[in-house]
């Protein structure tokens, strides 16, 4: 095969795998930002905190990072419940989520990130499972398990989440709270309780994404910064409240970013994230697949 073409093909395939990681990182935000209208800019920082916890626990107990991330998810659920309770009490209830609420999440992000620096130092941490060094080959195309396994896990979790949101009463209530909290109250469901539960799940998903992140790359306290642009761009491109839209946007994003990195060098890929975000905000704020409001 033409080497240029093979390079492009590999770029697309590993971009799709990278998109799987992005979907994991954006899944929680799609719930918090897309459905609950809570602009949790601390989400990537919480993901990185999850990644650090995974590294520490995984190294001590000799467990697989992805397994550990699923084990710590309940803990992060509780953290999310705590954050939401605080946020609701001080900001949402008073109707001050716009300025003060944003500043609050910015503060949380900052506290998490600087806290990680103080606890672990600014160095990179890693925890490589055994399969991270295996690469499957399909003809010209490389499928590194380091990328494939987290992507598959992410897809499985997001798939389960979509099913749950569509089939269960609570899931439907979460989707409903975004559209009309008052109507939900009339159905004898407490919207605050639903939001608390959903926000907890969203932060638990951040822990899962942290596990996936550890498998893919070494983490450092500031790893979250670069993800802010990505995950928000993906959520907005995906049309905010739609998880399938989010997954599609994440895969597309991974491909574009990876092909850029392949042909122009990896140091340019953050610019892709922002460029996309700005273009989407300027021309299609309803998302790539959404209908105009």
């Amino acid at each position: 095969m033409d080497p240029q073409l093979s390079l492009l093909l590999n770029g697309i395939v590993s971009g799709l795998l990278l998109g799987g990681l992005y979907a994991a990182a954006a899944a929680g935000l799609a719930i918090a930002f897309g459905m609950l209208d809570i602009v949790n800019i601390a989400h990537p920082a919480l993901m990185v905190a999850g990644a650090f916890l995974v590294v520490v626990i995984g190294t001590t107990l000799g467990l697989d990072p992805l397994l550990v991330s699923l084990l710590i998810a309940p803990l992060f659920y509780l953290v999310g419940v705590g954050i939401y309770t605080f946020y609701h009490h001080f900001f949402e209830r008073r109707g001050e989520e716009a300025l003060q609420g944003l500043a609050f999440f910015f503060g949380v992000m900052f506290i998490v990130e600087v806290g990680l620096v103080m606890a672990f130092g600014p160095e990179q941490r890693f925890l490589d499972p055994d399969y991270a060094f295996i690469t499957w080959r399909l003809g010209e195309i490389d499928l590194p398990l380091r990328m494939l396994v987290p992507a598959v896990l992410a897809m499985a979790v997001v798939g389960l989440l979509i099913l749950w949101l569509r089939r269960s009463f609570t899931g439907l209530a979460i989707a409903a709270v975004a559209q009309d909290a008052e109507a939900l109250r009339l159905m004898a469901v407490d919207p605050v309780k639903i939001k608390r539960l959903a926000f907890g799940i969203s932060v638990a998903l951040a822990a899962m994404a942290g596990g996936a992140l550890v498998v893919v790359q070494p983490v450092e306290p500031s790893s979250g910064q670069i993800f802010i642009g990505r995950v928000f761009a993906i959520c907005i491109m995906g049309g905010m409240a739609s998880l399938p839209g989010m997954v599609t946007a994440a895969l597309l994003f991974g491909v574009v970013e990876n092909v850029t990195a392949t042909f122009y060098g990896p140091s340019w890929s953050p610019a892709v994230a922002f460029g996309w975000l700005l273009l989407v905000l300027a021309f299609r704020p309803q998302g790539l697949f959404g209908k105009a409001a």
């Binding site: 716009a98 500043a103 910015f106 503060g107 600087v114 928000f232 610019a271 994230a273």
Partner: protein, 323 residues
């Protein structure tokens, strides 16, 4: 948070303005005299450190405090200013003062551009865009070899600069003048039609639009002004430290302080950011000497969270309530 300011009537506006400018210049002169009497270069650098935050916090307040639009990209705008000064010096040899003017221009344009693309949407999209702006500008600077890339750029400062006692004093006085001008501009905006329009946007944007406030135009004016002043705060940075690299220019501490200082001091009033900047800036300068810099940034983060939760109107709010 409708902390409406008492409209200044025509009769009292003149003397009040005179009192403000007289007071500001008086404090400025007093500071210079005191620091000269102390005669320690560290005093100038600490003073500069605090004053740059007065500029940054007041700039943030014009958009964030009056209009309620949160700009997370203070570090980005500031670094844009700093690197404009570096690039200008390298290209033309022009030094500090032209650098500040150019920085205001470049960062102002950056603010206008970001605002133009995102301000028609809900405020949160603008905030997210500014958050990413810093990351992307950093990418561009790291890849831009002309201004040193990731290695950074050096600026060799002259040892003496008459009639000033030292380079440190010169930098301090430049920043002092910039700070007084910025606070003056912020105060003028607050009492002008622009400021009232921005406050109307903050309280209820739809209602403001409905009664004929040109919301988009006012927001664009505020974003441009905010960006330009942040650039001004950054322009002297390479001259202050003699060396500038992307990590220092895009430091998280600028982003967090630019938000924490106005909110802790009292957003939406011209004095709030000044109080916040002097308080937090002095605290941090003292804390950096005694405890680690990471810990002291951590404390700023906690203060921000605690203040926005418990004292949404900041320190200025306490005085208002007592009256």
């Amino acid at each position: 948070m409708s902390a409406t300011t008492i409209p200044v009537t025509a009769e009292t506006a003149g003397p009040r303005n005179l009192a403000f400018w007289g007071g500001a210049i008086g404090i400025g002169v007093a500071l210079v005299v005191i620091l000269r009497l102390i005669g320690n270069d560290y005093g100038y650098f600490a003073g500069y450190f605090v004053l740059q935050y007065v500029v940054l916090a007041s700039a943030w307040n014009i958009l964030g405090g009056y209009a309620g639009y949160v700009n997370f990209g203070a570090a980005g705008f500031m670094a844009a200013g700093a690197y404009t000064a570096v690039a200008l010096r390298k290209a033309t040899g022009l030094d500090l003062i032209p650098g500040i003017v150019a920085a205001a221009f470049v960062s102002g344009l950056l603010g206008l551009g970001t605002g133009y693309l995102t301000l028609r949407l809900r405020g949160v999209f603008f905030s997210i865009a500014t958050l990413c702006l810093a990351v992307v500008l950093q990418t561009l600077i790291v890849n831009w070899d002309y201004v040193g890339g990731s290695r950074g750029a050096y600026i060799v400062n002259p040892l003496e600069i008459p009639p000033f006692a030292s380079w440190g004093e010169y930098m301090f006085i430049v920043m002092l003048v910039l700070a007084i001008l910025t606070v003056g501009i912020a105060r003028a905006v607050e009492h002008s039609r622009i400021g009232r329009g921005l406050q109307a946007i903050r309280d209820n944007e739809r209602a403001a639009e409905a009664v004929g406030v040109p919301t988009l135009r006012l927001k664009l004016i505020a974003t441009t002004l905010c960006g330009a002043l942040m650039g001004v705060a950054g322009a002297p940075l390479p001259y202050y430290s003699g060396y500038l690299n992307p990590d220092a220019a895009f430091s998280l501490s600028y982003a967090v302080n630019a938000i924490a200082m106005p909110l802790i001091g009292g957003a939406g009033t011209w004095a709030g950011p000044v109080i916040g900047a002097v308080l937090l800036g002095t605290l941090q300068q003292a804390a950096t000497v005694t405890i680690s810099s990471a810990l002291n940034l951590w404390i700023v983060g906690w203060m921000l969270v605690i203040f926005v939760a418990l004292a949404p109107r900041g320190i200025m709010g306490w005085f208002r309530k007592r009256r």
